[in-house]
């Protein structure tokens, strides 16, 4: 007899706007407070204190335009946020400060979240959609120098890049980018050489979100249709479809794999969060709490596995936080 799905451990209210992006920062040693960063449609970034379940700080740096991506850069003191005001802002949050130290004007009017990769101490690569329709630009942070621009070949008709993921096999190896495009294909780019290594049509509709497990060389992508597509990368750096999984309702906004690579979570347009086992994509749970589209899901980076959490932000302005499969 299967147990009914669990209820959220707690629910964060107070954003007064749809929540588009979430990021945990709980890895710091005690007495650091575990934090959750959320970006909302009203342009605010809220810093939630996960002990008191209240907002510690609200950051306003995007001119009241929707914030659709927040990430930390090596700890909770440095934050990167991306908004619909076509800017990427770098924040300094140490010692109670709330100032924007730098910003990048992307001229990108879409919704493609940028992707960060730490390549060396204090040096990051950031992939972002550029001004030109089909291009992805790689910048080095904090110097903001352009590393390369990834242009699909003429006539490829990929459409806008919808989601990006920069990764490298291990420190020191070549960084590679996985990009999902509007026409439903996922392209593997070699960043240093600036050319595409492999392309795979995963969906008939735009790829909404993707995530990749570099250890198993397997990735998953979700789209506006009913199918989740799992693909793998073989030795020749070629993408192949591994498996597809059909969902009950169409539309996935976000997919994320837990850092221990055991489970993954999807945020659905049907207001539900689904949990799958990563190994064989076994459906594990359907979390039905929200009353509108779930925009984002994020796993926490707690060092103690038992404290791990899953957070989901939705259009109904709530952030639900769950503790699920934390014991394994």
């Amino acid at each position: 007899m299967a147990l009914p799905p669990p209820d959220p451990q707690f629910v964060l209210r107070g954003t007064s706007a749809a929540v588009h992006t979430l990021h945990f920062s709980c890895g710091g040693p005690e007495p650091d407070i575990p934090l959750l960063f959320s970006g909302s449609e009203n342009g605010f970034i809220h810093v939630w204190n996960l002990k008191t379940h209240r907002v510690d700080t609200a950051l306003d740096g995007h001119g009241r335009k929707s914030v659709y991506c927040v990430q930390t850069m090596g700890g909770k003191d440095r934050l990167l946020s991306q908004g619909r005001d076509q800017r990427i802002c770098l924040w300094d949050l140490a010692e109670g400060r709330t100032s924007v130290t730098d910003s990048v004007f992307t001229e990108h009017v879409g919704f493609c979240r940028c992707s960060l990769l730490k390549v060396a101490q204090g040096r990051w690569l950031m992939a972002m959609a550029a001004r030109s329709l089909e291009e992805v630009q790689i910048l080095e942070l904090p110097s903001k120098t352009s590393v390369c621009t990834l242009k699909p070949e003429v006539g490829a008709k990929l459409g806008m890049p919808m989601c990006l993921k920069l990764w490298q096999l291990n420190c020191g190896s070549q960084p590679v980018l996985l990009a999902g495009y509007e026409d439903g294909s996922v392209v593997l780019w070699n960043v240093s050489m600036g050319k595409a290594l492999s392309q795979l049509i995963c969906h008939q509709e735009p790829v909404m979100s993707l995530d990749f497990d570099s250890e198993k060389a397997k990735g998953i992508s979700g789209s506006s249709e009913k199918v989740l597509s799992i693909w793998s990368l073989n030795e020749q750096q070629n993408l192949q479809v591994y498996k597809t999984h059909e969902l009950v309702n169409a539309g996935i906004s976000d997919i994320t794999i837990r850092p221990d690579k055991k489970i993954l979570a999807t945020a659905g347009w049907d207001h539900r969060i689904r949990i799958f086992g990563w190994k064989k994509l076994k459906p594990l749970a359907v979390l039905d709490y929200h009353t509108a589209t779930v925009h984002c899901v994020s796993f926490s980076d707690h060092s103690n596995p038992r404290e791990r959490l899953l957070a989901a932000g939705s259009k109904d302005q709530r952030i639900s936080v769950w503790s699920i499969y934390a014991q394994t």
Binding site: V241, R272, G277, K280
Partner: protein
């Protein structure tokens, strides 16, 4: 009749005279039935025989030439044979030319397509005659594009002319098309305009097919004109005329060119197939090596039985529906869709609640536009409107009929009003049977739910069925009493549906002039009135309606649009069927007599075949009425 070829110089004029006289006396079939096959055979390869044949027909006196030529054209098995038999007769003989190029094409229209093919093929086969073909085409196009011809000539004639045009087009050569292109284009534009203006769907389709064909001919590269219409046997036949099957004798390879040109134009641009470097090769997941099997097993799934398809709930109260539909919040399209789908059943289940807000709901529905792409949106809206109208007939009918004559509605909306009124009237006037629903031999008029120009056919069919079953109808009246009877709901509201519609038809508004340009709507209005009249049988108001309708018909009886005239005749039929006989004779005798003479006129002289048929049926009905009266002992 056999000829012995000799080396003799013989005069065949005697034979020509005989031939001519026989043909003109109407014996073409007999003599040509023997002569033509005989001549076909002998002229196949023998030039002398060909010349003899030509001499034969040339010598026929003028006064008999027409009969002979007509007979030959009708009887020849193909254009090439005709060419062998007649030679250049049309060029040499004025009478023959007149018959072939004018009389058979423009003045007569009873010949079959095969005859047309023969005739026009014959004209095209030789260069001397080819100029005649061009002239013929010019004249045909003139007729086709003249608006008075489209309005006043019978449909059969127009079909004939269209066929002739298409066959001519198929025989045209490239250089001729080049030189003639501008005129073709002009005629096409004018002709298409007149045809699309017509109220009869068949004429519209004819115009579209011919225009498409002309456009195909003159624009071999680049976009061609393409209309949207339903294909049926007639259109397919017409289109097949454009492509000539090449006869086996020497003929310019024009037909082949035609076909390859068309094929070339029709080849779709091969879309740039997104040649991906590596297409998706689905690698079936082999069973993972055992080492990996275990770790997933300790993740126990939760109960997922609640995970079903997401359904948007439609509102449950009528007032909520009104809010959703009329509201300006355009975000919640899912809810809007669900509301539209659920509205009809909600209205029917909550008549009391509907009655409170009926006029408002009717207003919203009349102006409701499609916000998202729902299947069958038009039908859903119409059914909801009918439901509202039947639930609260009088105020909603008042509203709808007043809106029919108001400013600033589109023609589509006005015709929707008419459709809704008819459907609701039908629903109200049909008794709702409880238990057995068997009608003994009764033919329920099945007006289809979908609006469209074909409703007119249904209504006509309705009236026709009625006329056919009219004797049975009186039987049905009695058997109706045996079944469970219930009050005729249409009785109390028939007048409210009918009289407002008939009131203002002669008052033009700035955007709506029934007697002027909007004759399509007038036609629909007249048909609507006919149906309402028919459905008003057994109501109290039927006599008053009959009188008003008769006056209305009388005022419009000479309308130029044949669709309107058909409607008027249907009105008369409905009237004769619905108004009780005694009342007809008591109140409407003089008008009926006048109507009778008008009907006689229509039956003889109206160019439209359907009008004539309807007039005849009306006269029969009147005859039957009279007979019945005489049968009743006074």
């Amino acid at each position: 009749v056999c000829f012995i070829p000799g080396g003799l110089d013989c005069s065949i004029s005697f034979v020509s005279h005989v031939l001519g006289k026989v043909c003109v006396h109407g014996r073409q079939k007999e003599i040509l039935g023997v002569l033509v096959p005989c001549l076909t055979d002998v002229t196949k390869s023998d030039c002398i025989w060909q010349r003899i044949c030509w001499r034969l027909v040339e010598c026929v006196p003028d006064r008999w030439m027409e009969a002979v030529v007509l007979g030959f054209v009708q009887r020849a098995p193909g254009a090439d044979v005709l060419s062998r038999l007649l030679g250049n007769l049309v060029v040499k003989n004025k009478k023959a030319q007149f018959v072939v190029t004018q009389k058979m094409l423009l003045l007569q229209y009873g010949h079959t397509t095969a005859v047309l093919q023969n005739l026009l093929g014959y004209l095209s086969l030789e260069s001397l005659r080819h100029t005649l073909l061009l002239r013929v085409l010019q004249e045909l196009l003139e007729t086709w594009s003249s608006s008075s011809a489209v309005k006043h000539s019978p449909v059969e004639q127009q079909l004939y002319i269209s066929k002739a045009i298409l066959i001519c087009l198929s025989h045209l050569k490239e250089p001729e098309i080049e030189s003639y292109r501008q005129e073709l284009l002009t005629s096409m534009m004018e002709g298409v305009k007149c045809h699309l203006d017509s109220s009869l769907p068949q004429l519209r389709r004819l115009g579209m097919v011919v225009a498409e064909s002309i456009s195909l001919k003159i624009n071999t590269e680049g976009p061609v004109l393409k209309f949207e219409y339903e294909e049926d046997n007639e259109t397919r036949e017409l289109k097949s005329l454009l492509v000539q099957t090449p006869p086996f004798c020497v003929v310019p390879s024009l037909p082949d060119d035609d076909r390859s040109e068309e094929a070339g134009a029709a080849l779709p641009l091969v879309p740039e197939s997104n040649e991906k470097p590596h297409t998706a090769a689905a690698v079936t997941p082999d069973e993972e090596s055992d080492a990996e099997l275990d770790s997933d097993d300790d993740l126990v799934p939760y109960d997922m039985s609640e995970d079903k398809e997401l359904k948007i709930k439609a509102p449950v109260y009528i007032r909520d529906c009104i809010e959703v539909l009329a509201g300006s919040r355009s975000e919640d399209v899912d809810k809007w869709e669900a509301t539209v789908k659920a509205l009809e059943s909600l209205v029917r289940k909550n008549p009391a609640a509907t009655r409170e807000v009926s006029v408002e709901l009717a207003k919203i529905l009349l102006h409701l536009e499609e916000k998202t792409c729902i299947e069958g949106f038009v039908e859903l809206r119409q059914r909801a409107q009918v439901a509202v109208l039947t639930t609260d007939p009088i105020p909603v009918a008042k509203y709808l009929t007043s809106q029919f004559y108001s400013l600033n509605y589109s023609l589509r909306q006005r015709m929707d009003i008419l459709d809704v009124l008819v459907l609701a009237a039908q629903e109200l006037s049909c008794p709702k049977f409880r238990g057995k629903t068997k009608h003994s031999g009764a033919q329920k008029p099945c007006i289809q739910l979908l609006p469209g120009s074909d409703s007119s056919k249904d209504w006509r069919r309705v009236v026709d069925e009625r006329i056919k079953s009219k004797t049975r109808r009186f039987d049905m009246g009695q058997s109706r009493v045996e079944l469970a009877s219930c009050p005729n709901e249409f009785n109390s509201v028939a007048g409210h549906f009918f009289f407002p519609l008939i009131q203002h038809f002669d008052r033009p508004l700035t955007t709506f002039d029934l007697l002027g340009e909007d004759h399509l709507v007038l036609g629909r209005l007249v048909h609507t009135l006919a149906v309402l009249m028919y459905l008003a049988v057994n109501t109290v108001a039927v006599t008053a309606m009959g009188k008003a309708l008769l006056e209305f018909v009388w005022a419009l009886r000479f309308h130029t649009d044949s669709y309107v005239r058909q409607g008027l005749l249907s009105c008369i039929s409905s009237l004769l069927l619905s108004v009780p006989t005694e009342r007809i004779l008591a109140d409407m005798t003089e008008e009926l007599l006048e109507t009778q003479s008008w009907l006689g006129d229509v039956m003889e002289k109206d160019p439209d075949g359907d009008c004539r048929r309807l007039a005849l049926q009306n006269l029969l009905l009147m005859e039957n009425l009279k007979k019945k009266l005489e049968a009743v002992p006074s």
